[in-house]
């Protein structure tokens, strides 16, 4: 039944856990919509026939609805719409809340290509390798204008904004190759901004990662030929450590927990900080990035607003490297194996 509907409605292959959820609601909504439109249409057609005019000057009865009728007109659609919304919002919360044990990949949109970098080292342009049956969190940003990362087979999409990280996650269910499209109009070659996701079984993925770390000769030659596209293979954390030194971060932020001009980097990631205005904020990639670009936006309580902005001084990959460096300064509690589903954080 579901397969048949998918074909009738031209839905692409469904290859992620989110896709299965979306398709179920999709069928419910589309079937209700078609039944409703045809229902109103046929009721109207019937009445046009039943109550056709018989004499040119025919007058009619005075018919007005009772309050009960009007109430019915309001409540029936409202019940359906709220049901759709309820299911849809639950699923949306699910897809915007990555599981704690998900694997991270940084995604950067740039006119007109997608760049992927893994905290473990390898980079890629227009090809994203991920393991099957493992949650993958995408941290998405843009180098220039707005883009939007869309994988029809996974039913996921998220805008890429310059100077900011957005996130979405997915768990691919079937090994294979899936198309990535850009859905936010970004200029001349918008429709050519294509990439693909290669989903590999875990073992093959591990091999792929190993091979990337070793650095095949071919890759090194490519890297030499076009350094702008493929930065030399290195761990992002190490890059971040170097950058934190050269950009002057460490002049104010300690990495051993000691007090200084700014909050210490040690254990900062995922910590809940109290802000000047009494609110609390969880330190995630988005907050760290925002604090680099607009330091005064959410000032941690007890610190002066003295940090200069790094807007325009750091490029997307450099921001990502520093974020990864800060993330590394904690005791990681990464679980292995299959996901247990998302861990819900309170909605900020």
């Amino acid at each position: 039944m579901s397969e048949l509907l998918n074909n009738l409605l031209f839905l692409p292959e469904s290859a992620s856990t989110f896709a299965e959820r979306v398709d179920l609601l999709h069928h419910f909504v589309v079937v209700t919509t078609i039944v409703m439109s045809l229902g109103t249409g046929l009721a109207a057609l019937f009445m046009f026939f039943r109550y056709r005019r018989r004499t040119p000057a025919q007058a009619t009865e005075y018919v007005v609805p009772t309050l009960k009728t009007e109430f019915l007109f309001v409540s029936v659609p409202l019940v359906f719409f709220l049901a759709w919304f309820g299911i849809g919002f639950r699923d949306f919360t699910w897809v915007t809340t990555p599981p704690k044990d998900s694997m991270d990949v940084y995604v950067m949109g740039k006119q007109w290509m997608w760049k992927f970098s893994y905290p473990e080292g390898p980079n890629g342009v227009n090809v994203l390798h991920v393991p099957a049956n493992r949650p993958v969190r995408l941290l998405i940003t843009s180098r220039d204008v707005l883009h939007s990362f869309y994988v029809p087979a996974f039913r996921i999409k998220m805008d890429a904004l310059p100077g900011r990280y957005t996130q979405i996650w997915f768990e691919a269910t079937k090994p294979g190759t899936y198309q990535v499209l850009c859905t936010e109009y970004c200029g001349l070659s918008h429709s050519k901004m294509l990439a693909e996701v290669v989903v590999l079984p875990q073992e093959e993925y591990d091999n792929w990662i190993k091979e990337q770390r070793r650095g095949r000769l071919q890759d090194r030659q490519d890297a030499l030929a076009d350094t702008s596209l493929v930065p030399p293979v290195a761990r992002m954390v190490e890059q971040g450590q170097v950058l934190a030194g050269t950009q002057g971060c460490l002049k104010c932020h300690s990495v051993d927990g000691s007090q200084h001009i700014g909050p210490t980097f040690l254990g900062m990631y995922d910590r809940v900080e109290k802000l000047d205005d009494g609110q609390q904020i969880r330190v995630d990639e988005a907050y760290i990035t925002q604090s680099m670009m607009d330091p005064g936006a959410h000032l941690v309580s007890g610190y002066q607003n003295v940090m200069p902005t790094y807007q325009g001084k750091l490029q997307g990959p450099e921001t990502a490297a520093i974020v990864e460096y800060i993330k590394s300064l904690r005791t990681p509690a990464v679980r292995e194996g299959a996901s247990e589903g998302p861990a819900y954080d309170p909605i900020q």
Binding site: V64, K157, L161
Partner: protein, 555 residues
């Protein structure tokens, strides 16, 4: 109150003898100057009709060029840059120069004073000014689009619009000026409704078309300044590199989207609310029946105008806004659907126990009903947050807004044109051709946009010059539908042009309508009504059989 049946013999034109002494507005002054400097709302409405139709033709030609380009993957008839400019021009012309003024500026202008028993709108000179402001804005915007062109899409999203090398400034400035025309028209209608109602026309005796125009005008006056100022900010940013929306200078591109949709989402209701109003008139006249729930339909117009302001965030579910915001805007979006449902059910209720005369305007009502229900419900589907994630910015959205915003409005525009044609020009058109072209247009519209819903399901993003092979079959189907649609419009243009010159005299009230506007001559004299100011003892849309009449108390 005794229901009067005097209008049933209205075809006999009892006031015909006054004709010579009170020339109709079309022949009262025949010099070019008497048209260009007129302050008669009917002549201004006609001039708006001329320009609006011209821009519809321009936008339509560009729509066809887009469809031909998308017939095959890869370059078909133009290069990528030309394509990007073409869809921008199509969107801008259709929205700012056609859809927004189409019904209010043409039929609102022409009918509103007639329906209120007034001699003219409240500010006749402002009314004329709004025509020229509209034209000035159109000329500047079109000049910019043809000289250099604009490739941002009609949404002008930053930072692309502040970085592109194409000429953004004149087009935005043109759109900014057109906004003033919209505001002026809106204020004029609001004041007219408040101050110019004939004795006896209380708020709840206003025809539903007037209610719809009133609600629309409120949106225009409140929302248009926001887009006006936004366009100025983007122009300044583009010309002088200000940093409002540019993250490289500390600005926020999402702020642009908030401001943009704060206008542009209510703008959708600027387009469809008047359409709803037209349909209330048409369904009542052609089924000879009082409106099923008059107050519910009137209030729901205000309801849509109100909640329409609180739904803009559903355009930004995947823009990185918070999950909580997505929930709030999702729920508020549902409310618009509920208000629309009230209208749809009450229109169908109006046909119940009516006396349906299946004339051309009624054929458009049928098409309208389908487009509104299907287009509206796909809108609610898009407001369902998790479904919007895959659908956002794909052809599903394109198909959805063409169904509700374009389909419903075009149906109403054509219904209004056919319904009021005898009133405006005093002549009738060929009914057979009317029905044939209505069938063609409804069929063509479905054939164009239903494949686009499926394209969106399949994942084709909008604003794509080129597309992967697997999308081709549905694109071919869509283009075929578009040509059918174009063919329908050509037929309409031909028989209406013929009717304008050779059509039979319509008589005062060819539809035997009880609408207030039909109590005047067709075409109406310059000051709308001959003799003393008319009074309207009956409630609007009142077709009750005097023999069977349980005359209603105040409803």
């Amino acid at each position: 109150m005794t229901p009067s049946s005097s209008l049933d013999t209205a075809g006999a034109a009892p006031h015909g003898e006054h004709h010579d002494h009170h020339p109709n507005y079309l022949v009262d002054g025949t010099t070019i100057k008497s048209w260009l400097l007129t302050v008669d709302h009917k002549r201004i409405g006609l001039m708006f009709l001329f320009w609006v139709l011209l821009f519809f033709l321009v936008g339509g030609i560009f729509a066809l060029l887009i469809r031909i380009e998308l017939l095959t993957p890869g370059p078909t008839i133009m290069d990528a840059m030309t394509y990007n400019r073409t869809f921008t021009l199509h969107g801008l012309v259709m929205i700012f120069l056609f859809m927004i003024p189409a019904i209010p500026a043409v039929f609102g202008n022409f009918m509103l004073p007639l329906m209120l028993g007034a001699k003219d709108v409240a500010f006749p000179r402002l009314n004329l000014a709004s025509l020229y402001i509209y034209l000035a804005g159109a000329v500047i915007a079109l000049w910019g689009m043809l000289n250099g062109g604009l490739d941002t899409g009609w949404t002008f999203y930053t930072p692309y619009s502040t970085h592109t090398t194409t000429t953004v400034a004149p087009v935005l400035f043109g759109a900014f000026i057109i906004g003033f025309s919209s505001i002026a028209t809106g204020i004029n209608f609001i004041v007219t409704c408040h101050t110019m109602r004939a004795p006896g026309i209380t708020w709840f005796k206003m025809p539903l078309f007037v209610w719809a125009i009133y609600a629309t005008s409120c949106i225009q006056v409140l929302a248009t300044p926001v887009i006006g100022l936004l366009l100025v900010l983007v122009t300044v940013e583009n010309l002088f590199s200000f940093g409002m929306f540019d993250p490289a200078r500390g600005g926020d591109p999402v702020l642009f989207q908030h401001l943009f949709w704060f206008y542009s989402h209510p703008a959708v209701y600027i387009m469809v609310l008047p359409a709803f109003g037209v349909m209330s008139e048409v369904v009542s006249t052609f089924s000879r029946k009082n409106i099923f729930g008059y107050r519910a339909v009137a209030y729901s117009s205000l309801g849509i105008a109100f909640v329409g302001f609180f739904a803009w965030g559903h355009h930004m579910f995947v823009s990185g806004q918070s999950t909580f915001d997505a929930g709030v805007f999702g729920v508020l979006t549902m409310l618009v659907g509920v208000f629309t449902a009230i209208k749809v059910f009450n229109w169908i209720g109006t046909v119940y126990k009516g006396a349906v005369d299946f004339k051309t305007p009624f054929a458009y009502f049928c098409g309208f009903l389908f487009f509104t229900v299907f287009g509206g419900m796909t809108g609610i589907a898009l407001g369902t947050v998790s479904l919007d994630v895959p659908w956002h910015d794909t052809y599903f959205v394109v198909a959805h807004f063409h169904f509700i915003m374009v389909g419903a409005t075009i149906m109403a525009f054509l219904a209004a044109l056919h319904y009021w044609f005898p009133k405006m020009f005093g002549r009738t058109y060929h009914e057979g051709w009317g029905l044939v072209s209505a069938a063609l247009i409804i069929l063509g519209f479905n054939a164009t946009f239903i494949p686009q819903f499926l394209l969106g399901n399949n994942g084709m993003p909008r604003r794509y010059y080129d597309y992967p092979e697997r999308f081709q079959a549905l694109n071919v189907a869509s283009t075929a539908g578009a040509s059918l649609l174009a063919f329908g419009f050509i037929i309409i243009a031909l028989y209406l042009a013929y009717a304008l010159v050779y059509g039979k005299a319509a008589g005062k009230n060819p539809w035997r309508s009880k609408g207030y506007e039909w109590q005047s001559e067709s075409p109406p004299p310059t000051h709308n009504f001959v003799g003393p100011q008319p009074t309207f003892p009956e409630e609007p849309h009142f077709y009750v059989d005097p023999k069977k009449a349980e005359v209603p108390d105040a409803v």
